[in-house]
Symmetry: C4
Subunit: 232 residues, 4 copies
């Protein structure tokens, strides 16, 4: 009974509006601090202060997580945003090896949780999440085509052009070739006059796949509107 009591007390704390504003303020301050840390000020004291502020924010966020987990128990994991926060904070507070220091920046994605409070932003983020599966599908189909065209490009142009000598480089060159003004296509066509067939097919297929993606999401959205309308 004591635990239940303490839990409900903890819940009161984390559900308090002021607590929420405090966390929101700390995330914003943390964003500014991390931004300032990239500047490289001459004043060592100032940099140390910034660094300490950053450590402090991180500590508070970890404590916040622990309180929330204590307050809600297993139900904590039912909220997608809580899991999001937990992952973001865990990743950003991994033991700070030199190459992992950048991960602390991920904490700033918590800003999205507060951004989510305003209706048009929530709308955008919801649509963002809704179109993710379709986007992954497009990426997979586009991936197959790019892989095939990449291998083709290496076989066709790899002997003469350094850009197409290896597969990763060739894939990058293909992405560059989307921009019609790129300096990739003209030299290739000077050696292989029929190379335009290759680049044109590639551009057209990519264009069609991306257009198909747009249509699939527009279609899904119109479909949803019809459902909403028919339920009225």
């Amino acid at each position: 009974m004591n635990i239940v009591d303490e839990r409900s007390k903890a819940r009161k704390v984390v559900e308090d509006t002021n607590f929420d504003y405090l966390i929101m303020f700390l995330i914003c301050m943390d964003a500014v601090v991390l931004g300032l840390l990239t500047v490289g000020f001459a004043d060592v004291n100032f940099v140390t202060t910034l660094f300490l502020l950053d450590r402090l924010c991180m500590a508070i966020f970890i404590v916040e997580m622990l309180i929330k987990m204590y307050a809600y128990g297993p139900r904590f994991f039912k909220s997608g945003w809580n899991v999001f926060d937990l992952v973001v904070i865990t990743v950003s507070s991994l033991p700070v090896a030199s190459c992992l220091i950048v991960l602390r920046t991920f904490r700033l994605f918590r800003l999205l949780r507060y951004v989510n409070r305003f209706k048009p932003m929530k709308n955008i983020i919801n649509i963002f999440l809704m179109i993710l599966p379709n986007f992954a599908a497009m990426a997979a189909v586009l991936g197959v085509f790019m892989y095939v065209f990449g291998i083709l490009a290496v076989s066709l142009f790899g002997d003469v052009f350094v850009e197409f000598a290896e597969l990763p480089s060739a894939l990058f060159a293909l992405v560059q070739a989307f921009s019609p003004d790129s300096g990739i296509i003209r030299p290739v066509m000077a050696v292989y006059p029929h190379a335009w067939i290759f680049f044109l097919s590639f551009s057209m297929i990519s264009f069609l796949i991306v257009t198909s993606f747009f249509l699939s999401v527009i279609s899904a959205m119109v479909h949803k509107e019809f459902k909403i309308a028919s339920n009225l």
Copy 2:
């Protein structure tokens, strides 16, 4: 009663079609004059004439505003276009310090009021205003992502590449990296072979956010059509 009489007389003047055409003509002339003032003619007399014409237009616009405010009284501020005109004219006639002279150009935005008379243009401007909140939401979400990726870029590439040494410069370089043909990505990848993961994630997330914005406005528009259709 005298004032009421004068007010209704003033209202008759400003609501007269010819008065309207006169103002419209003056705005167009002002647009041409401001355009010609950028040319830098050798003939000093001509430039002085242009300058005087510009001053004259401004004076007439201020008088027009005063008459309108007198004619309508407080109701003047109920029309969005009147407020728009007032702001534009006030801003463009601020005491002309050398760096503020450019503000007079804002007067030309009054052209939009007359553009608004033709139905398809009115349509475009209405949609423009309708999608502003969604656009602001997209800008905010995109802003959070760009800020995080900007800080990441400074931490990751800032030591080696001048473009990524400071946050504002890094943000600009990220915008440039949208164009696949830009000269930013290749040198970075020569030093950090895995940098493509960073740039690809950034491009894909930005693409998804912009697509979400498009879908949110298309969705809002289809929703409106359904409402119109159900009211028929």
Copy 3:
């Protein structure tokens, strides 16, 4: 009665499928001939033959027009495609001064008339014509903004940068600045660190105007579908 008789005979000729195929074949041949004329063959006889073929096609097209006008009388001008043909042929057969020789190429637009026979192409051309007023509206609104931003750019950057010294050049530079990778923005920002506000506002407003155009045409199209659906 003789004239009526001759007219109906003429109408039979021009409405004959074979006559139609002949004209279609001649237009296609003319397209090939005009294409070959750009190559500049060494063989003078061949070039002369091509040139004569081109003259011949033109002569036949003029005769075709005259027969059609005779056959249909004033009703000839009721068909949009007939007027289109007449304008195209008149323009392309104007007395051939050296700088007007290029106008003969306009005859090839007659291909569009035959392209129009296949349903999906007809669909595209119809939509093309349907969105023209909205496109003109967008061009006008965008034009006002570009004019204002062009004058602003000349006032702000014209003293230092040649690209912004005059209005037409500044407008072109603004169009170039749409491409984030362009070499225009960085040098300007090196001198005026706040220039990004100018370029960002310009890009965002242009983006919003173009998006508004897309939405206005999508909206018109969805509206049409609702009308079709409600009539079923």
Copy 4:
């Protein structure tokens, strides 16, 4: 009766889930092998192994086709995917002359068949196939315009600029001119100050044609949704 028996046995084999997984695994392995073959390892034995694996995959695919054709008889050709497989495998196993070796890469398109099993990918591929006729129509209309503008460009700028000296090169330069930052337009405008009219018309017409294509497919899709909704 023996043949019928054997056919149904063969059908059991090819319809077995494990057989399907085996083929799927082989296609994926083949994709990796073909990718590795582009790397050019120093170890000759490894390359030979890869090459033999590739031959083996091809042999198995041919056997698979033969079994399937035997199992289904003429009904084999009723499935679009079977025909697709047959074409892809036939093309990719043509007698390997040096310039045709690249065709073996087409075998990888068989990956699309398996990609097709996941609903969102199937959706994308279906839309891809659905919009193909509209895309072809757009390509034809755009083709007519580009041909005319290409000939115009050769006539107008061909004497001075190498890029516009011949039709194919001029068409490529026109595609490049879509990118406003391209180095094509400025030099042309330095010689022909009115060239912007040409490039602007070309860009606007191309923009309108592509927009018309988008609208035609969105329209078709909304139309389909209305049909689905009215059948409910």
